[in-house]
Amino acid sequence: MSVKTGGKIDRYLKNNAAQARQEKKYRSARFSRWRGRALSWAYLAPSLIGVGLFFVLPFGVVIYYSLINNPVQHDFVGYSNFVRTWENNAFQLAARNTLIFSFAAVPLAVVLSLWLAVIMESRIPLKSTFRTFFLSPMMVPIASVILVWQVLFDYNGLVNAVISRIGIGKVDWLKSYYGPVVIILLFLWKNLGYNMILFMSGLSSVPKDQIEVARLESATETQIFWKIKLRYLSSTIMFVIIMSLINSFKVFREVYLLAGNYPFDSLYTMQHYMNNTFQSLDYQKLSSAAIIMAAFMMVVIGILLLLEDWFGRDLEQ
């Protein structure tokens, strides 16, 4: 470019070079974005392959198995496996027990943990110590404390000793229809701390100015709680309900460790049913039971999420 040619050509060349540079830069930026995008799939690959292999693909197989008569003949039988599972006595017992347990345990877990969070929000001393105490059951393995639970709720146990002294008859807790009470207590013991943390955070995110205004308008604390705080907590409440529901389905752990694989009827959970079906390796029953549960979970969670939308519709967050 050092040779002086006419201004026109010079300008043309200059422009061209600038344009080329621009284009190259643009292209390289686009290329690097494209490359980044492609690479991001490479980062995802291990997880996607693993999840696909262990969860998604076999779930397809589960659906397939639920529709055929047996793994040898592969005859398509429609929904008869579902009917068979649905009409199975053990399945009905397990489903009923699990539902009753969830319906009793989840509201209790929500209300009590919210109450704990309100206590923790007020001006009590030693807050962080209390928080540690309330949260500690979450970290204690259930298997470790099961002995204490047995000491408490055995027929010759401590609870019976206390209530028989008061004059109420002894109850054989784990071998009667009171069994779920013991499990609910264990469930609450384990899960209240977790929910409390969520509620504490929810309560602290309620806008302070609204509470101030309400106080100036001489609203009582009860009114403030019900009319303001609870409205802002709606999404937290929904999440706590969902998590408690999921955890209430995991309660087999506690039952198994307390009462073993063949507990009293009132403690026969869904997982017991699954375990026993696993032992007989009835793939059709297993698959249809798993699909019924999955569908149930999806419907319930879907409804809860819709409810949350509806409750939170006029809130600006």
Partner: protein
């Protein structure tokens, strides 16, 4: 008209004179009343908190203190309960249960027996470690890569995949164990440690948590690094990972406690009791060795308790991330 007007004026004057005093008196009363009520409420709430704290701590503390009892003391205290499934009946058994917080005589005998004389408990403890440590490490590793993939570039397909992960995460074991078992039996790993490891490592939980964590990193940070010539791997290791250190700790604690507690998976995916983790084995301690059970229980909860004491903040953080409150 005029009279009315005057009268009303008089009234208002009268009220004006009386009002301030009354109002002050009123307000003062209200404040002191409210203060009193608040103080009473605080006392009440503190008492409630103490009551709950007692209930929440009692099982753990009881397990801990009882592990220092001699075996004869445990048999004397709880024999009425645990001897019911013992056919031998050689030990002395009391009729009533004696719940004691403080042992008559502090003894380390149970621990010595567990640690040096009966290796099966240590073997089961070791089993638990062998399951949980690789699962935590590799689940976090796979999840860090995947979450970077989810968070760095977004798209509709990825959003769909992420939704799938959420759905999978919400499914109870009763649902996910069936597909897990089918793949494991197809791969021929049922009854081996791999049947526990592999589904654990690829569990969607950590991916969900970490992705939510990483999405908070501003996109401009990546862009800046990219303009400075950093490759994707460099952005991942030098920028993303250091920011996510706290998140990784939180998730590690949650994953650890979940698998340290596992009961469902071993029961279905393992058939050999030798491979059972301590969480399942603890419930199978027979009546003769019941005195050891408390010591084993304490040994089993030491590790999570240590993590809890050192990482409570991370745990709380993790719970809040799971709750989606900190988005």
């Amino acid at each position: 008209m005029g009279i009315f007007g005057k009268k009303s004026q008089d009234n208002s004057i009268e009220r004006k004179e009386g009002e301030p005093l009354q109002a002050v008196y009123f307000e003062y009363d209200a404040i002191s009343d409210r203060k009193k009520r608040e103080r009473r409420q605080t006392v009440r709430r503190t008492l409630a908190a103490m009551f709950f704290a007692f209930l929440f701590l009692m099982p753990t503390v009881l397990t801990f203190t009882n592990s220092f009892m001699t075996s004869s003391e445990i048999n004397a205290n709880y024999g009425a309960i645990f001897a019911t499934n013992n056919s031998g009946g050689k030990i002395y058994v009391s009729e009533v249960v004696n719940l004691k917080f403080i042992p008559d005589m502090v003894s380390f005998g149970q621990y010595i027996t567990v640690l040096f004389k009966s290796p099966e408990y240590l073997m089961k403890f070791w089993n638990s470690v062998i399951y949980v440590v690789p699962i935590v490490i590799f689940q976090l590793f796979v999840a860090s890569l995947a979450s970077f993939g989810f968070a760095r570039y977004r798209g509709k397909v990825k959003q769909l995949f992420f939704f799938l992960y959420i759905v999978l995460m919400l499914m109870p074991y009763q649902v996910t164990l069936v597909p897990n078992f089918m793949v494991a039996s197809r791969l021929g790993i049922v009854g081996t440690r791999w049947a526990i490891w592999l589904p654990g490592i690829f569990s969607p939980f950590a991916v969900y948590m970490l992705t939510k964590y990483m999405r908070r990193i501003p996109y401009s940070l990546y862009e800046a690094a990219s303009i400075d010539g950093a490759g994707e791997w460099q952005i991942f290791t030098q920028i993303c990972m250091p920011i996510c250190r706290g998140g990784l700790a939180s998730i590690a604690i949650l994953v650890f406690i979940d698998y340290w507690n596992m009961v469902e998976q071993p029961l279905i995916l393992l058939d050999n009791e030798e491979l059972y983790p301590l969480s399942v084995f603890l419930s199978r301690i027979n009546a003769e060795e019941i005195s050891l059970a408390f010591a084993v229980a304490v040994i089993y909860m030491v590790l999570p308790m240590l993590f809890f004491l050192y990482g409570e903040e991370y745990l709380v953080e993790g719970i809040l991330y799971q709750g989606g409150i900190k988005e």
